[in-house]
Amino acid sequence: MSTSSFVIHLLNAISFAMLLFLVSVGLNLIFGVLGVINFAHGALYMVGAYAAFQVAGAWDVPFGVALVVAPLAVAVIGTVIEVLFLRRIYARDIAVQLLMTFAFVLILDDLVRLIWGTGIKATPRPELLSGAVSIFGREYPIYGLFIIVLGPLVAAALWYFIERTSFGQRVRAASTDRHMASALGVNVPVLFSAVFALGSLLAGLGGTLAAPLRSATPSMGENIIILTFIVVVVGGLGSFPGALTGALMLGLLNEFAPLLVPRSEMAVAYALMAIVLLIRPRGLFPSPALTT
């Protein structure tokens, strides 16, 4: 493999990893604080992609607006799900929680179909970010670089939010011991809603960013949710650095494994997930509570 080819493949891997990271870290946030594994996280990612299409495609508003509006819309939907439904079953078995979020996968997939129909929805690329730059004589899309830059920025913002704000302090307190936090005057139900909204926002952001790359279809969430599961299991449930590491590992595997053995990428990914679960069940960055 030539240097240029290697660099391009590497950038591909990182760009994909950053997209995965944004979605995974949302899932991790929700698990870290609420203790719920949200099957519908992929469906929220899909809703983000459709919302981005609606704003930047159907209404023809600049993509920058969609980048704000679409994730917020998903956050609102997430809040509705949490307040009306999920909240009622925190005390129940984890299987019940999985089932309820699975119900939302089915519901959201079909609602999207009812609203936007079955057509293949391609969101136009933002003017500013279209085109490519030359890297070692090969072209690389600017939009890919944009995602590579945006990933760490969002990670830094999240870190600041969780570590340095009073809201973040309460989130951390609740993730360690929700009863203690409650006793200390933290309004835990409101906090849970806020965390679920923030997690949904991240899923929506992932979907928004994916929209100009991948066309929106009613089943696009099914693929990403499984990848996200692998990321958070490998990295460690509830861990931010784990999500980053897991996403990078999966991104690299996805790009380079098929170059060595064709069609091997997903098999290797599942094998990796299984091995990590066996050797370090709590992931590479195990954490008793939310860690950034």
């Binding site: 293949i120 929805k121 490519a132 890919g144 790009e255 069609r263």
Partner: protein, 422 residues
């Protein structure tokens, strides 16, 4: 929750309830006459056609077009007094995949008691189903699935296809590649990782090498199907750098591939030809992002057939649905019309006379004159390709010019299809 699995004292009623629910559930409706609301085969009630397409999931845009085409055909027939004096009724089901298609078909054939079966978008699904059709005793008209095997190796008396198949499509594609791009010496492919992707590449590369002896081919690239992110595969193609690239991806995969490939400047360096690029589902999805100046194939192009039948069909379709018909809509429309014509000729909807009527039938379809070959039940129809071009009238790319190849040249002779009818 109850703490036990089996409570011995409560067991009797558990089994009772369970037995009732389990055994009686499907039987509760058993008292209804067979065929539910319809008259079924041979009766005086409506003639029922069971249509199966991809009506759910990432490729459901294709199924929706087929539904539109079939519904329009049924309405036209009924406005005209029906078939054999009976009303025609269309039932739609999601075809699912090779795992679920047989149960769907059984339900249509045995529960809904349809007179005819039609549809099928995916070749893999069709290959799983076709051999099981004779035991259901119903005619199946395939309208999209293009694998050669359906009217080849797996052919049987009950299965017909009214649409362009893989060899027909590849014949014209290879002719264009050889004549339009005589300087492109190495060719590669990027196609879906299943029967269809393999078969198209096999036919295209063979036909191309027969026409241009200088041509060599490189290892094919087969991304998983379906797939969203093609950047890795695009760069594999850029690494290998053939002169020409035969693209057999379709549906949402093709939309994603085209957009991502342009990001990497793939088409500036490797000349693509798109086997199914001129599907309306794809062109509508891509809008002005579809690159122009490249050759794209289809099974039918609405502006490509200069006939009264086609003009009337396209006008009525646009009037009704506000967009031009895709090839899948046309094929579904033609499939219904062919079944109706055969039933009229046979004077019944019974399978055997209808099969006899279908064999060798000549029909003036929107896609042009269509003959169902008696020996293998494949439609002899002219394949369509065209050059992608911008149009001031539409908000998607169109084909200009449109080219065809004679049906008898493009279709492999009966002796080469491996079809052995019993």
């Amino acid at each position: 929750m109850p703490q036990r699995i089996v409570d011995r004292r409560g067991f009797l009623k558990d089994v009772g309830v369970a037995g009732a629910a389990l055994a009686m559930g499907p039987l509760l409706t058993a008292c209804e006459p067979e065929g539910g609301g319809g008259g079924g085969a041979g009766g005086d009630g409506p003639i029922r056609i069971g249509g199966m397409w991809l009506l759910s999931g990432a490729l459901s845009a294709y199924g929706e077009f087929a539904r539109e085409g079939a519904n329009m055909a049924v309405e036209e027939l009924n406005d005209d007094g029906g078939v054999l004096g009976r009303e025609v009724e269309m039932l739609f089901e999601h075809e699912g995949d090779a795992e679920s298609v047989l149960q769907v078909t059984r339900r249509l054939a045995l529960e809904e008691n349809v007179d005819f079966l039609m549809g099928l978008d995916s070749s893999g699904t069709a290959q799983a189903l076709v051999p099981a059709i004779p035991e259901l005793g119903k005619v199946l008209m395939v309208t999209h699935a293009a694998s050669n095997e359906i009217t080849g190796e797996l052919c049987n008396r009950y299965v017909f296809r009214c649409s362009v198949n893989v060899p027909q499509n590849c014949y014209l594609g290879a002719q264009l590649a050889a004549e339009e791009y005589p300087d492109l010496q190495t060719w590669g492919t990027i196609g879906p990782d299943y029967a269809f992707g393999y078969e198209t590449w096999e036919f295209f590369s063979r036909y191309l090498q027969e026409r241009n002896l200088e041509v060599s081919v490189i290892d094919p690239i087969y991304p998983p199907f379906p797939n969203e992110d093609f950047s890795s595969h695009i760069n594999q193609a850029l690494d290998a750098r053939p002169d020409g690239l035969f693209v057999s991806l379709w549906g949402a995969d093709l939309v994603n591939f085209v957009r991502q490939a342009q990001d990497f400047g793939l088409f500036d360096q490797i000349t693509p030809i798109f086997q199914l690029g001129a599907a309306m589902e794809v062109l509508e999805g891509l809008g002005n992002e579809m690159p122009t100046g490249y050759w794209a194939g289809t099974r039918y192009w609405w502006d490509g057939i200069d006939s009264e039948t086609n003009q009337r069909f396209v006008d009525a379709f646009r009037e009704r649905y506000d967009h031009p018909p895709s090839y899948n809509a046309q094929c579904a429309y033609t499939g219904v019309m062919l079944l109706a014509a055969a039933a009229e000729e046979a004077g019944t909807t019974e399978a055997d006379p209808v099969i006899d009527a279908l064999e060798g039938i000549e029909f003036d379809a929107p896609q042009g004159p269509t003959v169902i070959r008696a020996e293998d039940h494949q439609a002899l129809v002219e394949p369509t390709w065209g050059k992608l071009a911008d149009s001031p009238d539409e908000d998607f790319m169109i084909l200009d010019p449109v080219v065809h190849a004679p049906a008898d040249e493009a279709t492999p002779p009966v002796g080469e299809t491996n079809c052995e009818m019993e």
